[in-house]
Symmetry: C2
Subunit: 399 residues, 2 copies
């Protein structure tokens, strides 16, 4: 224990290096006995471990199985024991102006608890903003090899979400992710809330991929960098996949802008759906391989079709924000002459010539209505400015 770190913080920092993300045995152990004792057991304190083995099996639902999850875990964790240096890791983080965010503190995003057995032990965090609550975060993710279309739509959506007071969560990768972070930073007046959060599969002291270094530095400066891996950690495929669950869990909604038929972004979408979070997918041309994954999500019902920021905000809730998109579109769409007309009036309107005049009797025949209905309809249409009397009868008028 050192530099004012509590045993809990030090243990979580150490365990985050010992365990791969979502190591359910290690996480169950920490849940059962607390991180400090879990660390003691995981690093070979046999006396404490013996008692917990049966409890752990039960916790993991492995009562009947012949496996001994703790023994397997100990074997799995042994090679890394020598690497544990939580104080050094916390110091490294501190030099970068970062902090370890742990459960039970005010900044801990309670939304992560929805991950239950795979909730992370801690978050290594850089950035001057606090992590906002789930209601103010929207994930915008997609494929690395985005198209010009995908980039343009991502920029619109991310900047639109920032304008609406949401932080944009993404994965710091090339393509859609980078564009989402970039547009969020560009669209922000400086927060709070932070315009964007990059959730990394590597330590927050590293900028990966290298081509995004400048962008990720800007996110660290003006937004937030988050990882469950300690400083110095490299990204691996497993960590990318597990990182995706954090993006999904932190955000009120996850939107996939472009994704191929198989894409990591679909993994994020399925994590979100598994958590009961709404998922949006942006449609695109059917010939674009980069939209095939989005269309797949729409087809299988995982995602809702979203085309602009108001629709994403609607998915994110709160419900009071609902329907804005529809209303805006309705009002942007020009109203038409026949909007709101009764059927008989529509029939009369259809029968009215634009240039010549016609008689009530002729209208009755053409429209298939009684003379009385035609006269009543003409009266209503005249009031609406759609029909006009002429010397010879009636003709149509444009509203």
């Amino acid at each position: 224990m050192s530099a004012g770190h509590t045993a809990d913080v030090l243990a979580r920092a150490a365990l985050s290096r010992l365990l791969e993300p979502s190591d359910t045995v290690g996480l169950a152990l920490a849940a059962l006995v607390g991180p400090a004792d879990a660390l003691r057991i995981a690093t070979g304190d046999v006396s404490a471990g013996r008692e917990i083995s049966a409890e752990l099996r039960e916790h993991l639902g492995l009562q009947g199985a012949r496996r001994d999850p703790l023994a397997e875990g100990l074997e799995r964790w042994r090679p890394r024991r020598a690497d544990l240096a939580p104080v050094r890791d916390l110091d490294t983080l501190g030099r970068l102006g970062g902090r370890l965010v742990v459960p039970g503190t005010e900044e801990w995003p309670s939304a992560l608890d929805d991950l239950r057995a795979t909730a992370p032990l801690c978050l290594w965090v850089r950035g001057r903003h606090r992590i906002p609550g789930i209601n103010r975060l929207a994930a915008v993710v997609g494929s690395r090899d985005s198209t010009a279309y995908g980039a343009a739509v991502t920029a619109e959506l991310a900047s639109g979400m920032v304008t609406r007071g949401y932080g944009v969560v993404s994965g710091g990768a090339y393509g859609i992710d980078a564009q989402a972070h970039r547009a969020a930073l560009a669209g922000s007046a400086g927060g709070p809330p932070p315009p964007t959060i990059a959730v990394l599969a590597n330590g927050v002291d590293r900028y990966y991929p290298a081509g995004n270094e400048e962008l990720l530095r800007a996110v660290a400066e003006r937004g937030i960098l988050v990882s469950e891996m300690p400083p110095g950690s490299s990204p691996t495929r497993w960590r990318f996949l597990q990182r995706n669950r954090l993006i999904a869990a932190l955000s009120a909604v996850t939107v996939v802008v472009e994704a191929r038929w198989r894409s990591g972004a679909l993994n994020t979408a399925h994590h979100a759906a598994g958590l009961g979070r709404p998922v949006g997918a942006v449609p695109g041309p059917v010939h674009s391989a980069n939209s095939a994954g989005c269309h797949r999500l729409l087809r299988d019902g995982t995602a809702v079709c979203v085309t602009d920021a108001p629709e994403i905000a609607e998915l994110a809730g709160p419900p009071s924000a609902g329907g804005d998109a529809d209303r805006a579109k309705e009002s942007a769409s020009p109203s038409r002459d026949h909007d709101g007309l009764l059927v008989p009036d529509l029939l009369v309107l259809d029968g009215l010539p634009v240039r010549a005049s016609t008689s009530v009797d002729k209208l009755a025949t053409v429209a298939g209505l009684s003379v009385r209905d035609v006269i009543a309809g003409l009266t209503r249409l005249e009031l609406a400015g759609l029909a006009a009397r002429t010397g010879e009868g009636w003709r149509r008028q444009r509203a």
Copy 2:
């Protein structure tokens, strides 16, 4: 009665001129007393009418209302009485090689009975093919002002459906409809089934719109023209909207390729959804106003996202055809090294360098696995051709 026409056929022909489509009072009358008596009553045979008035109110659920639907109907129908000439209309149809298709005959599409109170009394039909059953018909509809994208997708979908043995139903309008008919004709070897059916809002003796005359002549020649309106009838907005219900009712699935936020094609989609028929919508660029209606259908859950003909066929059923699209895509998509790997093997694979070699111990640390798991994983990866032994240890191999 004349030229071998039954009283039923003559009465239905006459009523189809007297009544606008979906005139629920006239249709209820025909349902209650049969078309021949309904025609007598509707044209003013008072003795027959008096008795039926109460029954009709009950049939229409208007027992408590002060309205007299029959009296209103009689007033509405009176102006057209003088125009009734069913023998002439049937002769006109006959000269065009057409036929009146009525319920109770073999060609009557029983799918139309799903329209219940608004099922048409008859269909005026041209074309040498019989109208196929619903299982072999798919509607492809969309906006008149289609884009190049919409036209290209329509052509692919329509021709793909014809290849799969479906007839393509559409409305004969400019834009998507015309493209659907055209591609269906081009993709057909001559049938049966007929490649395409145009359901018109006007009489089948007329080619509307004028710019589609050549196309509609080709449909009459090699496909089928259908209308519930008698020869000589003009299209009106009401008839267009009602025509849409026939397109939806005839077809196992209705697909909207392009539609603006407000579009007649959405009306067809809602008719189909109201009948419990599956609806497909083709996604497009979010900036395209011509895809806004499709995205609206996707968003509100009316439609399923469809991007190719196999997906439409899947919606149309039969279920045995299901899943082809997914399977085709899966097999078209290149498999990847990590497909089907266990999690520990994936962790090992991630830790294996491609160029240099590494040791089991180092792999255990990097992957966060026990030495035993690493060895087991390496053995499996070696068998899969993904890992190779070197003089110094192990390295990755591309499958």
